[in-house]
Symmetry: C2
DNA sequence: AGCACGCTAGCAAGCGTTTTCCAGACCGGT
DNA sequence: ACCGGTCTGGAAAACGCTTGCTAGCGTGCT
């Protein structure tokens, strides 16, 4: 069993017959020049000794950990998992590493996790779909919200409204006149969710009335219940727009169980566009969130800084598959 | 904009009129007693000043970061996402935090990520389904492999063989006589994968011949291709056992596209049991990996230590849904 | 009265880095 | 010869924390 081998920079210095400062210069490839042969000796020592720099010491000295904190409501949710992956990719590419954790959609857990991450001295915080407005007054590090706008920090999110509008418009072009809506989450403070707005936009633009709506949690089960609700509506929709993939999958199940066919009897459109939707039956037509671009921008803002607090939105992609009737 | 406010333990000590040591004693609730009134004064100072301990300094001094490194082949894979969530939950409960990253199934990326995490001084390493046998000779910290056994470290994994056997046995009890197999990954070093073994066990036990098999990547696309392959087999199976959820979903699609019905024409059984399978159409009967138990044990071994290197296996759950014909 | 001990709190070393400041060596130019 | 400049390397402080050691001081026991 390999015993702990804390070979420090001191050992390297000694072995190479130089001072610790010199070792520092060579491992950091800093502005300081060091004679080629000395450098070689140090490199050799590092190799032989199997020296690995200690990032915590470095962090203490430098005051930065090159580590991000990422909090999602639920790491098991495919959307957040894909987002986390995109963020990890961006962060890795720039030498950062990410501490990821779930808040379970609970404000106090969320606040506790934020505190924990701050203690860990993260260099930046990514809050995915945070619950309430978390207390960010004393964080002292850059924070960016994803998929939700917060009062005091910048945010990135898809163009929910325009994306929803485009998707529903597509449904209308397929000839649908009664289009139901599965809308997510608990009423977000009176303000109608953007996806609902987009749905209505498209309807109005075509001179159509609102179809039936059902409110549901952002889960497959929620979508399933909402789907059943919509199917039982007095004016049964011929198409349903679900605010999330998870809900759409639930809706699909409700439709199947009712013995109806997609898209022949009812078309379905989902917002998000995670991998799961490509292999549902039928494959779902989706409005895809540009996760990669959002991740890139979020990470970049954390690292490169930003001139001002702003909410950035990103255009979505309408991906046509079978569930809309294409 | 909140400026960086590095209020240190020195400030607290000064404000409370005590030495820094005392502050340390109270924040750590350590073995050292401090007079109640002094403690109150310190607590008050901490509150007023908004002091937050610096974990990197603590880590440097103590030699432990209370941080784990978690490497999965793909953070976007729902199985790994659910596993990561379970690990995060366990770790959080014990005051640890986890650095999560993906290796993309690439051995050199994997090795690089391991190195990066070691530099970060993680207190333990969780390797999920690592690629080759990574070089673990000089890590100096506890490592545990998940879902794969590695030569030099302990591992936790589901009872692949027994689980597969139980699942296939169930298929046989439904009357199936020709049961196909979708097996994952590239030939793992000559040794037949455990799930394949379990499948064959059940078949033999019932006096049945092997059904057709198809090798595929652990992805929906891979499962889809394999599904088509199996459907075209000279002796078409009446049931298919897929080594993973992802593959099963692909198989489902292949079956649907062929105009066949599940489970009437062909039954399907999947290994893994992620949430996605509950809402596929039809809902998939699955052999579920006990992710929570595995996560708990893995984390516990990392924190509490272990007496010896061993490979732990955990019984799976057979969850009966529609795809098997139940 | 003397002493040992328990309780509380302070001092200071040290964890592994980075970085500032300085020192020596060498060079070319006067 | 001397001086200024360039190049290379070393000494040491500081980052914020933990902890062993020490000290002051009441209290109870002999």
């Amino acid at each position: 069993m390999p015993k702990a081998t804390p070979v420090t920079r001191n050992d390297v210095a000694q072995y190479a017959g130089v001072s610790t400062a010199v070792v520092s210069y060579v491992v950091n490839e800093g502005p300081r020049r060091v004679a080629p042969e000395t450098r070689e000796r140090v490199l050799e020592a590092i190799r032989v000794l199997g020296y690995r720099p200690n990032a915590t010491a470095r962090a203490l000295r430098m005051g930065t950990t090159r580590t991000f904190g990422l909090i999602t409501p639920d790491g098991g949710n495919p959307l957040f998992a894909e987002l986390a992956k995109a963020i990890d990719k961006e962060a890795s590419a720039r030498g950062y590493v990410v501490l990821q954790t779930s808040a379970d959609g609970d404000p106090v857990t969320e606040q506790a996790k934020i505190a924990e991450l701050l203690i860990r001295q993260v260099s930046g915080l990514l809050l995915v779909a945070p619950t309430e407005d978390p207390d960010l007054t004393e964080v002292g590090i850059p924070v960016i919200a994803i998929n939700r706008v917060l009062p005091t920090v910048s945010s990135v999110r898809p163009q929910y409204r325009a994306g929803a509008r485009a998707g529903v418009k597509h449904l209308i072009e397929h000839g649908h006149r009664t289009i139901g809506l599965v809308i997510g989450g608990r009423g977000t403070g009176g303000r109608a969710p953007e996806r609902e707005l987009g749905w209505r936009d498209a309807l109005r633009q075509a001179g159509l009335e609102d179809g039936p709506t059902a409110r549901a949690r952002f889960s497959r089960q929620g979508g399933y219940d909402a789907g059943k609700e919509l199917l039982a509506a007095t004016k049964r929709p011929t198409a349903i727009f679900a605010s999330s993939d998870l809900q759409a999958v639930g809706v699909l199940r409700a439709i199947h169980e009712a013995g109806l066919r997609v898209p022949d009897d009812i078309a379905v459109l989902a917002f998000d566009g995670t991998a799961e939707t490509e292999y549902s039956w039928p494959p779902l037509t989706v409005v895809r969130q540009p996760l990669d671009r959002m991740a890139r921008e979020a990470v970049s803002r954390l690292i490169d800084g930003e001139d001002a607090v702003q909410s950035l939105t990103y255009p979505t992609d309408l991906i046509l598959r079978k569930s809309c009737g294409c």
